[in-house]
Protein backbone atom coordinates (compact mmCIF):
# COMPACT_ATOMS: atom_id res chain seq x y z
CA UNK A 1 0.00 0.00 0.00
CA UNK A 2 2.14 2.79 -1.27
CA UNK A 3 2.09 5.88 -3.38
CA UNK A 4 4.67 7.53 -5.55
CA UNK A 5 4.30 11.16 -6.57
CA UNK A 6 6.59 12.74 -9.16
CA UNK A 7 6.05 16.43 -9.88
CA UNK A 8 8.09 18.71 -12.14
CA UNK A 9 7.39 22.38 -12.68
CA UNK A 10 8.93 24.91 -14.99
CA UNK A 11 7.52 28.16 -16.44
CA UNK A 12 4.14 27.68 -14.74
CA UNK A 13 3.69 24.25 -16.27
CA UNK A 14 3.37 21.37 -13.82
CA UNK A 15 3.71 17.81 -15.06
CA UNK A 16 2.93 15.08 -12.61
CA UNK A 17 2.84 11.31 -12.46
CA UNK A 18 1.15 9.52 -9.59
CA UNK A 19 1.25 5.78 -9.07
CA UNK A 20 -0.03 3.38 -6.43
CA UNK A 21 -2.99 3.63 -4.08
CA UNK A 22 -4.60 6.84 -2.85
CA UNK A 23 -6.43 6.29 0.45
CA UNK A 24 -6.58 7.75 3.96
CA UNK A 25 -2.99 6.73 4.59
CA UNK A 26 -1.36 7.96 1.37
CA UNK A 27 -3.58 10.99 0.58
CA UNK A 28 -1.72 13.28 3.04
CA UNK A 29 1.54 12.59 1.15
CA UNK A 30 -0.08 13.59 -2.14
CA UNK A 31 -1.74 16.66 -0.59
CA UNK A 32 1.52 17.90 0.87
CA UNK A 33 3.39 17.53 -2.44
CA UNK A 34 0.67 19.31 -4.42
CA UNK A 35 0.38 22.14 -1.89
CA UNK A 36 3.92 23.23 -2.80
CA UNK A 37 2.57 24.35 -6.20
CA UNK A 38 -0.91 25.62 -5.34
CA UNK A 39 0.03 29.29 -5.02
CA UNK A 40 1.69 29.66 -8.41
CA UNK A 41 -0.15 32.15 -10.64
CA UNK A 42 -1.76 30.74 -13.79
CA UNK A 43 -0.42 27.25 -13.24
CA UNK A 44 -1.05 24.79 -16.03
CA UNK A 45 -1.09 21.41 -14.31
CA UNK A 46 -1.42 17.99 -15.90
CA UNK A 47 -1.42 15.00 -13.60
CA UNK A 48 -1.12 11.53 -15.10
CA UNK A 49 -3.12 9.03 -13.03
CA UNK A 50 -2.72 6.04 -15.35
CA UNK A 51 -0.81 4.08 -12.71
CA UNK A 52 -3.20 4.81 -9.85
CA UNK A 53 -4.77 1.43 -9.14
CA UNK A 54 -6.95 2.42 -6.19
CA UNK A 55 -8.58 5.65 -5.06
CA UNK A 56 -11.44 6.64 -2.74
CA UNK A 57 -12.99 9.86 -1.40
CA UNK A 58 -9.79 10.87 0.37
CA UNK A 59 -8.08 11.08 -3.04
CA UNK A 60 -11.02 12.96 -4.53
CA UNK A 61 -10.75 15.43 -1.64
CA UNK A 62 -7.08 16.10 -2.40
CA UNK A 63 -7.73 16.70 -6.11
CA UNK A 64 -10.76 18.92 -5.42
CA UNK A 65 -8.71 21.07 -3.01
CA UNK A 66 -5.86 21.40 -5.53
CA UNK A 67 -8.35 22.14 -8.31
CA UNK A 68 -9.86 24.97 -6.25
CA UNK A 69 -6.47 26.50 -5.43
CA UNK A 70 -5.23 26.32 -9.02
CA UNK A 71 -8.50 27.80 -10.32
CA UNK A 72 -8.44 30.66 -7.86
CA UNK A 73 -5.01 31.65 -9.23
CA UNK A 74 -6.27 31.64 -12.80
CA UNK A 75 -4.70 28.31 -13.63
CA UNK A 76 -5.94 25.01 -14.97
CA UNK A 77 -5.80 21.45 -13.67
CA UNK A 78 -6.16 18.44 -15.90
CA UNK A 79 -6.25 14.85 -14.70
CA UNK A 80 -5.33 12.39 -17.41
CA UNK A 81 -4.98 8.67 -18.00
CA UNK A 82 -7.91 7.73 -15.76
CA UNK A 83 -8.83 4.05 -15.69
CA UNK A 84 -12.51 3.16 -16.13
CA UNK A 85 -12.70 2.67 -12.35
CA UNK A 86 -11.28 6.11 -11.57
CA UNK A 87 -13.42 7.76 -14.23
CA UNK A 88 -16.50 6.18 -12.65
CA UNK A 89 -15.54 7.56 -9.23
CA UNK A 90 -15.42 11.10 -10.64
CA UNK A 91 -18.65 10.57 -12.54
CA UNK A 92 -20.79 9.20 -9.70
CA UNK A 93 -19.72 12.07 -7.44
CA UNK A 94 -20.52 14.64 -10.13
CA UNK A 95 -16.92 15.86 -10.17
CA UNK A 96 -16.47 14.57 -13.70
CA UNK A 97 -18.72 17.37 -14.95
CA UNK A 98 -16.80 20.07 -13.12
CA UNK A 99 -13.20 19.02 -13.47
CA UNK A 100 -11.14 18.43 -16.61
CA UNK A 101 -10.59 14.68 -16.67
CA UNK A 102 -9.47 12.43 -19.49
CA UNK A 103 -9.82 8.65 -19.61
CA UNK A 104 -7.04 6.34 -20.64
CA UNK A 105 -9.31 4.68 -23.21
CA UNK A 106 -10.10 7.01 -26.08
CA UNK A 107 -13.33 6.90 -28.05
CA UNK A 108 -16.08 4.37 -27.40
CA UNK A 109 -19.13 5.47 -25.49
Amino acid sequence: MNIQVDLQESNNVLKGHISGEIDAHTAPVLREKLEAYQNIESLNADLDLSDVNYMDSTGLGVFVAFYKSVNSKGGHLKLSGLSARLKRLFDITGLGDIMDIESAEKGGN
Binding site: M1, E21, D23, A24, H25, Y54, D56, S57, T58, L60, G61, R85, L89, I92, T93
Partner: protein
Amino acid sequence: MRPFDYVEMRVPAKSQYVGVARLTISGLASRIGFTYDDIEDLKIASSEAVTNAVQHAYSDDEDGEVVIGCALYGDKIEIMVADHGQSFNFEETKAKVGPYHDQVEGDFLREGGLGLYLIETLMDEVKVHHQEGVTVFMTKYVGGEQVEEDVETISS
Protein backbone atom coordinates in the same frame (compact mmCIF):
# COMPACT_ATOMS: atom_id res chain seq x y z
CA MET B 1 -25.66 -23.94 12.17
CA ARG B 2 -25.88 -20.28 11.32
CA PRO B 3 -26.48 -19.45 7.66
CA PHE B 4 -23.30 -17.46 7.25
CA ASP B 5 -19.57 -17.55 7.91
CA TYR B 6 -18.44 -14.73 10.15
CA VAL B 7 -15.03 -13.06 10.04
CA GLU B 8 -14.08 -10.26 12.43
CA MET B 9 -11.06 -7.97 12.38
CA ARG B 10 -9.93 -5.63 15.10
CA VAL B 11 -7.38 -3.06 13.99
CA PRO B 12 -5.75 -0.02 15.61
CA ALA B 13 -7.47 3.26 14.68
CA LYS B 14 -4.61 4.21 12.34
CA SER B 15 -4.86 5.01 8.66
CA GLN B 16 -2.29 2.39 7.63
CA TYR B 17 -4.80 -0.33 8.56
CA VAL B 18 -7.50 0.96 6.17
CA GLY B 19 -5.70 -0.76 3.28
CA VAL B 20 -5.30 -3.97 5.26
CA ALA B 21 -9.05 -4.09 5.96
CA ARG B 22 -9.80 -3.28 2.31
CA LEU B 23 -7.63 -6.12 1.01
CA THR B 24 -9.05 -8.61 3.49
CA ILE B 25 -12.62 -7.75 2.49
CA SER B 26 -11.62 -8.00 -1.17
CA GLY B 27 -10.35 -11.53 -0.49
CA LEU B 28 -13.53 -12.51 1.34
CA ALA B 29 -15.74 -11.10 -1.41
CA SER B 30 -13.92 -13.00 -4.13
CA ARG B 31 -14.71 -16.22 -2.24
CA ILE B 32 -18.46 -15.75 -2.74
CA GLY B 33 -18.21 -14.98 -6.42
CA PHE B 34 -18.48 -11.19 -6.72
CA THR B 35 -17.37 -9.76 -10.05
CA TYR B 36 -14.22 -7.67 -10.41
CA ASP B 37 -16.26 -4.44 -10.51
CA ASP B 38 -18.34 -5.40 -7.48
CA ILE B 39 -15.19 -6.20 -5.53
CA GLU B 40 -13.73 -2.80 -6.46
CA ASP B 41 -16.98 -1.19 -5.23
CA LEU B 42 -16.74 -3.14 -1.98
CA LYS B 43 -13.13 -2.05 -1.53
CA ILE B 44 -14.09 1.61 -1.83
CA ALA B 45 -17.19 1.34 0.38
CA SER B 46 -15.37 -0.55 3.11
CA SER B 47 -12.40 1.85 2.97
CA GLU B 48 -14.78 4.79 3.38
CA ALA B 49 -16.44 3.19 6.41
CA VAL B 50 -13.15 2.18 8.01
CA THR B 51 -11.60 5.61 7.30
CA ASN B 52 -14.55 7.28 9.05
CA ALA B 53 -14.30 4.90 11.98
CA VAL B 54 -10.53 5.40 12.27
CA GLN B 55 -10.99 9.17 12.40
CA HIS B 56 -13.80 8.94 14.97
CA ALA B 57 -12.05 6.39 17.15
CA TYR B 58 -8.73 8.20 17.01
CA SER B 59 -10.22 11.55 17.95
CA ASP B 60 -11.71 9.94 21.07
CA ASP B 61 -8.72 7.89 22.07
CA GLU B 62 -5.26 7.65 20.54
CA ASP B 63 -5.18 3.96 21.36
CA GLY B 64 -8.61 3.40 19.87
CA GLU B 65 -9.57 0.39 17.84
CA VAL B 66 -11.92 -0.25 14.95
CA VAL B 67 -13.88 -3.48 14.61
CA ILE B 68 -14.92 -4.80 11.22
CA GLY B 69 -17.31 -7.74 11.05
CA CYS B 70 -18.10 -9.54 7.79
CA ALA B 71 -20.91 -12.05 7.36
CA LEU B 72 -20.57 -14.15 4.23
CA TYR B 73 -23.73 -15.67 2.78
CA GLY B 74 -24.14 -17.58 -0.46
CA ASP B 75 -25.52 -14.55 -2.26
CA LYS B 76 -24.40 -11.51 -0.27
CA ILE B 77 -21.87 -9.98 2.08
CA GLU B 78 -22.81 -7.93 5.14
CA ILE B 79 -20.12 -5.67 6.56
CA MET B 80 -20.35 -3.95 9.91
CA VAL B 81 -17.81 -1.29 10.91
CA ALA B 82 -17.72 0.15 14.43
CA ASP B 83 -15.53 2.96 15.75
CA HIS B 84 -15.62 1.66 19.30
CA GLY B 85 -13.36 -1.26 19.97
CA GLN B 86 -15.98 -3.68 21.26
CA SER B 87 -16.56 -6.91 19.41
CA PHE B 88 -20.17 -7.17 18.49
CA ASN B 89 -22.77 -9.80 18.65
CA PHE B 90 -23.37 -9.55 14.92
CA GLU B 91 -27.07 -10.54 14.95
CA GLU B 92 -27.83 -8.35 17.97
CA THR B 93 -26.15 -5.26 16.52
CA LYS B 94 -27.70 -5.91 13.12
CA ALA B 95 -31.15 -5.90 14.75
CA LYS B 96 -30.45 -2.52 16.36
CA VAL B 97 -29.24 -0.56 13.36
CA GLY B 98 -31.87 1.56 11.70
CA PRO B 99 -32.18 2.99 8.22
CA TYR B 100 -29.98 5.92 7.55
CA HIS B 101 -31.63 9.36 7.73
CA ASP B 102 -30.04 12.50 6.35
CA GLN B 103 -31.10 14.70 9.22
CA VAL B 104 -30.23 12.40 12.08
CA GLU B 105 -26.88 11.55 10.60
CA GLY B 106 -25.96 15.20 10.08
CA ASP B 107 -22.76 14.95 12.08
CA PHE B 108 -21.62 11.81 10.39
CA LEU B 109 -22.47 13.26 7.00
CA ARG B 110 -20.52 16.43 7.61
CA GLU B 111 -17.46 14.53 8.65
CA GLY B 112 -17.89 11.65 6.23
CA GLY B 113 -19.06 13.88 3.40
CA LEU B 114 -18.33 12.28 0.08
CA GLY B 115 -17.42 9.04 1.84
CA LEU B 116 -20.92 8.25 3.06
CA TYR B 117 -22.34 9.24 -0.30
CA LEU B 118 -20.04 6.72 -1.98
CA ILE B 119 -21.00 3.99 0.50
CA GLU B 120 -24.66 4.54 -0.32
CA THR B 121 -24.02 4.56 -4.05
CA LEU B 122 -21.76 1.51 -4.15
CA MET B 123 -23.60 -0.76 -1.70
CA ASP B 124 -27.14 -2.12 -1.97
CA GLU B 125 -28.20 -1.35 1.62
CA VAL B 126 -26.72 0.97 4.25
CA LYS B 127 -27.72 1.49 7.86
CA VAL B 128 -26.11 3.62 10.53
CA HIS B 129 -26.39 3.10 14.26
CA HIS B 130 -25.46 5.68 16.92
CA GLN B 131 -24.87 4.24 20.33
CA GLU B 132 -21.52 3.92 22.07
CA GLY B 133 -20.04 5.38 18.88
CA VAL B 134 -21.06 4.92 15.28
CA THR B 135 -21.71 1.61 13.57
CA VAL B 136 -22.14 1.39 9.81
CA PHE B 137 -23.88 -1.69 8.49
CA MET B 138 -23.82 -2.34 4.75
CA THR B 139 -24.87 -5.10 2.39
CA LYS B 140 -23.97 -6.00 -1.15
CA TYR B 141 -25.61 -8.78 -3.15
CA VAL B 142 -23.79 -10.98 -5.62
CA GLY B 143 -25.07 -9.98 -9.05
CA GLY B 144 -26.61 -6.71 -7.91
CA GLU B 145 -29.60 -5.80 -5.79
CA GLN B 146 -32.01 -8.60 -5.07
CA VAL B 147 -35.07 -8.58 -7.31
CA GLU B 148 -38.50 -10.10 -6.84
CA GLU B 149 -38.20 -13.83 -7.14
CA ASP B 150 -40.85 -14.20 -9.80
CA VAL B 151 -39.42 -11.54 -12.07
CA GLU B 152 -38.18 -13.14 -15.23
CA THR B 153 -34.74 -12.42 -16.50
CA ILE B 154 -34.70 -10.68 -19.82
CA SER B 155 -32.04 -12.22 -21.99
CA SER B 156 -30.77 -10.48 -25.03
